[in-house]
């Protein structure tokens, strides 16, 4: 690539922003007895280093599962073990069994932040850079601008480097991105291997498995099930099985081990109302108390059904017509669906930033905003405001998003043509969307100001958090509808337009 030095500068900017955010406070700082996610990470290093593998996921006198027990797949545990070895080399007190609980010091904070940065540097950032370089049909400058915007996305930075999330988000995201990259560039085996690693790092990635599965299946069908397609299918199956076996090897020795790990990974008794997240259930709950009406397992089943059903059309289409762009769009739709129904975590929609810059930027801003209650709890207001502004300015200047709000740019042309068959006066779509954007941004800014400056009334102490949820949820609902429209109408016009690679 000609402008390698510009890409280096972009990566350096990304690293600088990450490190400066990490100088702030982390979750649970100075808050005994449970502290926060930062302590959870440190605890896992303690557990994996001091205890044998068989005891990692079991409750015992040495390993109290109530105190931040391991609830992520084995790859996380191995990563913690690796970090623990380094910690032991620097200062064994950090991971001494039992005595290191709640250990907090400047040096330790530095160590933990460094591990996140290194993981980012090795896995996520190369994936982003490579992804942007492999984008087709755009100039080098746009590719670099793309990389800058993705790397500046505040949500990921604030969670990983500020809040210090339960797991190194960038690692699982990076692996998933390698997966997407591999599969889009026809390196199917590597892509599926990377994605399996992502799943084994964090079970949330299972959400993304449906589009992956459908896309790869579609590819096999395309090549013909009798010949090359079948070979590909077999190879893929072997890769997936092999990677799973490799990761879970120590836990396959006994049935009880495997079951316990699965129990820790999928705590079905936790339910849908984790900490007032911005999903549909919390918003719905305001009007109709589902939490009290329906029993837990019904809630779960309902969520799964809704998710699956809403995804089904897109996935079927993907199987029948596997295309890289369709794959990316389906992933996009998946994000919005997941957010809508679950939102344990969100995933940046950066993959289509270059294609639909306006909506993507809007979406990413809203997703960062939805984190507000969490960030305020960790005293991360300043970094979040600054990084959000930086991200917004980067997107605006790189993609001139405000000029790209015509119907064609928003990929809504075919949709509006169809609507105009019934309603000839439906010409105001792009202006409507612009107004909506303005309203949304103003609401978000106002809510942020209110949350920071005012105290909530006595009777409704969680007023602001719920309001944030509600507003974010409304936005996500809009995005859900939007992405569905794109995918559905893309299929109709796909046959008429030129081939999209």
């Amino acid at each position: 690539m000609e402008k390698w030095y510009l890409m280096t500068i972009v990566v350096l900017i990304g690293l600088t922003v990450r490190w400066t955010v990490s100088l702030n406070s982390y979750s649970g700082a100075g808050k005994p007895p449970m502290f926060g996610d930062y302590e959870a990470q440190r605890h896992w290093q303690e557990i994996t280093f001091n205890l044998p593998v068989k005891q990692w996921y079991f409750n015992s006198s040495d390993n109290n599962l109530q105190y931040w027990g391991l609830d992520y797949p084995p790859l996380t545990a191995y990563h913690s073990l690796l970090c623990a070895y380094v910690a032991k080399f620097i200062n064994p007190d950090w991971i001494a069994l039992h005595t290191s609980r709640g250990y907090e010091s400047q040096a330790h904070k530095l160590f933990m932040r460094t591990t996140v940065l290194i993981a980012d540097l090795l896995i996520y950032i190369p994936a982003v850079v490579l992804y942007c370089c492999c984008l087709k049909d755009i100039s080098t400058k746009k590719k670099i601008a793309n990389a800058l915007c993705i790397l500046l996305y505040p949500g990921l930075i604030l969670i990983d480097y500020g809040h210090f999330q339960n797991i190194y988000n960038s690692v699982s995201l990076g692996f998933a991105l390698w997966g997407v990259l591999g599969v889009s560039c026809d390196w199917d085996l590597l892509g599926s291997l990377a994605f399996c690693l992502a799943i084994n790092y964090k079970q949330m990635e299972l959400y993304h498995s449906l589009p992956f599965f459908c896309f790869l299946l579609g590819k096999c069908f395309k090549k013909g099930l009798k010949g090359k397609g079948f070979v590909l299918l077999v190879k893929l199956a072997c890769t997936v099985v092999a990677s799973f076996v490799l990761c879970w090897l120590p836990f396959f020795t006994e049935r009880e081990q495997t079951l316990q790990v699965l129990r820790r990974l999928f705590p079905v008794d936790r339910g849908l109302f984790e900490d007032k997240v911005a999903n549909i259930w919390c918003s719905f709950n305001v009007f109709l108390k589902i939490r009290d009406i329906l029993p837990r397992h019904i809630q779960l089943i309902m969520s799964f059904c809704f998710t699956f059903l809403s995804l089904l059309p897109a996935c079927i289409k993907l199987t029948l017509q596997p295309s890289s762009k369709g794959f990316r769009l389906t992933l996009l739709k998946l994000y919005s669906v997941i957010l809508f129904f679950f939102l344990y975590h969100f995933r940046p929609v950066c993959l289509v930033l270059s294609e639909i810059p306006f909506m993507s930027t809007w979406f990413l801003l809203v997703s960062t905003f939805s984190l507000l209650p969490l960030l305020l709890k960790d005293e991360l207001l300043m970094p979040s405001v600054v990084t959000t502004m930086a991200f917004f300015i980067a997107c605006v200047t790189s993609f001139s998003i405000f000029e790209k709000t015509s119907e064609e740019e928003l990929q809504l042309k075919s949709f509006s043509i169809s609507v105009r068959k019934y309603l000839p006066c439906f010409t105001f779509l792009s202006r409507m969307i612009q107004y909506l954007f303005l309203i949304s941004v103003i609401t978000m800014v106002l809510l942020t100001l209110m949350t920071v400056t005012l105290d909530p009334p006595q009777k409704l102490p969680d007023l602001f958090s719920v309001l944030v949820c509600f507003v974010s949820c409304l936005n996500f609902l809009f995005f859900l509808v939007y992405f569905n429209i794109i995918i559905m109408w893309d299929s109709k016009s796909g046959r008429n337009q030129k081939k999209i690679s």
Binding site: Y5, I9, L15, T16, L23, Q106, A107, L110
Partner: protein, 413 residues
Amino acid sequence: MLPRLVLNSWTQAIHLPSPPKATSEWTLDYPPFFAWFEYILSHVAKYFDQEMLNVRNLNYSSSRTLLFQRFSVIFMDVLFVYAVHECCKCIDGKKVGKELTEKPKFILSVLLLWNFGLLIVDHIHFQYNGFLFGLMLLSIARLFQKRHMEGAFFFAVLLHFKHIYLYVAPAYGVYLLRSYCFTANKPDGSIRWNSFSFVRVISLGLVVFLVSALSLGPFLALNQLPQVFSRLFPFKRGLCHAYWAPNFWALYNALDKVLSVIGLKLKFLDPNNIPKASMTSGLVQQFQHTVLPSVTPLTTLICTLIAILPSIFCLWFKPQGPRGFLRCLTLCALSSFMFGWHVHEKAILLAILPMSLLSVQKAGDASIFLILTTTGHYSLFPLLFTAPELPIKILLMLLFTIYSISSLKTLFR
């Protein structure tokens, strides 16, 4: 952190109704305008944290104080941004690249606004250099735009904010005298004595006098002028700053040390005669050299004057307009840095920032600029010494260095 505490205590001291005596180790040692600036700040500080202003609260530090001081630096940088904007107007885009990022104006603005040295000195190490350099760049820009009176005015004001800019005062003086007070040249470029304009000289003198009167007047009336000068020019402070600025005297000291070690080994020197104080102990103090002759302030002054003489001569005998002035200014700054008494390593910024203006216009200047800026910035590393700051300074340094090298290379392809 230390300069922040210094400024803290000044803010406190100024808030008192009467001139303070030395109440702490961090007493005021900048000229009066800076003191007034701190006074204004202290009035705003009231709204952030009242405790900050209590004179007895030495070394006071709280998150609100921090927030206030950082925001004040950022706010004052507005002047710096404006000055950069004015400087960019003086650059002609002869080599017009097709894209924005290849234009000299864009490169210059990035080189100035993202200057690594300024970033870490102002915003991490903490000082208010941004707006002061803004004043300097503004005065340079005005001289480029042939608005000499304004340029002189800004520089006079600047001098009374921070007297370190005396380093470059000879350049200003000679340039204004030669190119402004003598309104025309002979065809071969040499001086035409009968074009001397008394009006201009007097107006310049008036400007400087008025500014100085405004600044030093109150202290003259209070009979405190000697005290002010002794605080501004503390010659008791020693040849080198606590952290040696990488100038000639650092080499001189090092040579002296090496020679003394050799002398001890070879028994030329008597161990009892060696002074115990170490020059690098980090405290500001006086010391004697052991082998080489000791250096007095007068010696450094003479060395500095000898060093700036060539450029001053060129400026007088062969003036080349504002660009020649800028070159002379940079050279004055560098010479003073090399041979000055008690130079801070931050003073290298005085040479780097004006040089940026030259670097986007000629390839030769660009290569010198790259050497100067890379080594100058690297020499600032000891300013940030805590572990968390290590990645920041490395990353920022890499960012600036890679950008400057690649953009200037592209510009002068």
